[in-house]
Symmetry: C2
Subunit: 428 residues, 2 copies
Amino acid sequence: MKKVGVAILGLGVVGGGTYKMLTEHREFYQQTQEIDIVVENVLERDKQKALALGVQESKIASNIAEICSNPDVDIVIEVMGGVEPARTFVLSALNAGKSVVTSNKELFCKYNHELEKAARKNNCGLFYEASCVGGVPVIRALLDNLQGNKVLSMMGIINGTTNYILTKMTDEGASYEEVLKDAQKLGYAEANPTADVEGYDAAYKLSILSSLAFHTKIPFGKIHREGITKITPADIQYGKQLGYVLKLLAIGKNTEDGIEVRVHPTYIKKSHPLASVNDSYNAVYITGDCVEDVMLYGRGAGAMPTASAIVGDVIYCATHPTFRYSTFKNTAEADPAVKFIDNFKSAYYIRLDAHDKTGVLAKVSSIFSRHNISVAQMIQEDDGKEDGHVPLVFITHMTKEKSVMKAVDDINATSEIAEVVSVIRVVS
Amino acid sequence: MKKVGVAILGLGVVGGGTYKMLTEHREFYQQTQEIDIVVENVLERDKQKALALGVQESKIASNIAEICSNPDVDIVIEVMGGVEPARTFVLSALNAGKSVVTSNKELFCKYNHELEKAARKNNCGLFYEASCVGGVPVIRALLDNLQGNKVLSMMGIINGTTNYILTKMTDEGASYEEVLKDAQKLGYAEANPTADVEGYDAAYKLSILSSLAFHTKIPFGKIHREGITKITPADIQYGKQLGYVLKLLAIGKNTEDGIEVRVHPTYIKKSHPLASVNDSYNAVYITGDCVEDVMLYGRGAGAMPTASAIVGDVIYCATHPTFRYSTFKNTAEADPAVKFIDNFKSAYYIRLDAHDKTGVLAKVSSIFSRHNISVAQMIQEDDGKEDGHVPLVFITHMTKEKSVMKAVDDINATSEIAEVVSVIRVVS
């Protein structure tokens, strides 16, 4: 039976899950895959953590060089996260002729060109299914199943932390701050939640997924990114009233006019399959010119679901020895021939604080009409206007981003009669 | 650029879609996959059909031998359906050294061992993603993404026709017969709908999918199969009242006691992700020991979604020249060491026609208790009992199939007081 030696860099949540999965399923892989996967090394500063997992002391490497020079290691699993030292370690492994399986979205998003170049040069495998949406099989679906399609669009709920927070805010009417605190207590959000709640994590993944879907490098910097920190229970409530659910969506579109890529809070119709993806579940909804709509749903994070993606790659790498992934165009920057659209079209939810003066609706309507914005739905409530302030909520028809931003400026310039409280994009 | 010659056997709905996709996307595949896919031959008795699609007359083969001896054909696409002559043609192609891509679930379910043997002997590829659930990427997900997991269970809505019929019956309260007629008019059901409505099509697919998931051959004959022809609007209505949606589910479970595989109408809780898979959409819900729950959703049939799966396989086959699929154990029959469970456990919906005599509930309750069946929910309605007949609906707790069947016999033996109208399994 073919023996496959692996080394795991980092025994955090995902690394620990991967170690557990590989060791507990060793006999299962002998039976079903006819390979014997053995963890030959781990790299982990916290020795006690490694020992507690059951790693033999002799297998704990002191540095990356030890792993790179270990002839028993065929595949290096990088689950450290962050750019450095992960980048240096992965490059060392590839240059030592080891194949690499990584779950590191930031690294792969920013340095894929460098890693792929090294992998090709050394004829090594480079696999990254675990970098996007945990156990949901989306990267291989794009590469090996949907590759005959021109992908028209993708929409994803691809960050577990923010989906957990928005689901709780929706179900319980609680504020962002309250739910974030709970999520941190439960381990669903990190002590410094910025990467998740400001949409960086989702944007790294969107960069990788849209590069694969659209067959061209989509750099992180081309992605319009907004987080969920300004979302209020009131906005979620008004959305509900209008038949929408609020999600942090990652959206990629490939149109005749160019590519648009964006991560922002978005209302989606309650009947859309993505609307019922709740808690820490994730899903990617892909529309191809032939396959029509496909949705891939599952656990986007967590120790064992992410380990599942890593181990899937390890087995694939070991059982396809002559195949080394070709990925998206091997460049650091976008192809200059590709046009990116920043003045994209969308429907918009606009909530105003109107100072209840005669003529406010007429004034706002005339601003909308000046910017070619037409209104599809409106809520005006008379409750709670003791202080003379009335909420006014509009959903617009499809319109251009920049027109809405100009209209918002114009409304805010009439601050004696109305101010814009929130602007949220809407997908129907 | 590498040239890849293909031949298409059968230009029906799927064959026509495949021809269209390959020819219209030829330049796209040159750009994105660096291969030039050329349709070198088609095999289609109806010459006019081929010409109408734009096939050059010189490319229309008169028989399979012509295709097998054409050195320009690398890959044969079989989209004829049915066992013969598809089986003979596929074997001829493999024996002539051509790789094969097929969408034929019946053929692959029944003769996979023979086809795989021929593929191995001739070092040819054999791909069948399109045989199960159209454009939904489920086979490669099981083989290449989730293969590190012990799959505990799968539940699928894997037949478009029956899901369309049940959705319409649910939405419109119409009878099975009415909706079937409409579906036939719209092309969603065939003139002879048996393969779909009696669950054969779903059982072929379940045989293939569960063989992959459980790493052992699951023959068609081991699958408990019931269709939807006896479903009434009343059952759908009572299910709704109790919070359930009725679907034709294909279920596979791998437990310590053995494997259970079954296709039958099933109530599922309204909140389950499968409950909102409607119309001709399909989905497979897979639970693995590490990945937890994954759902793959999309168009399970139709010309272009199925063509998407076929073309995905063609590209995969062409770009992975040294890789030939290993599939499930290459046998015709089940491994005698594997135990199949026919006395499985489930919750049950049992509807009685009670003749409204004193003591009917006591009598039925005593029968249930004799067979260790306990009741979780009950509906007793007093409406419409002018003729002395009252519907009585029970949902049981988890119980054994055979206990329920015995209880049904015992109740029917008391035909002067009550009769069983329907028995439908329930998944919570």
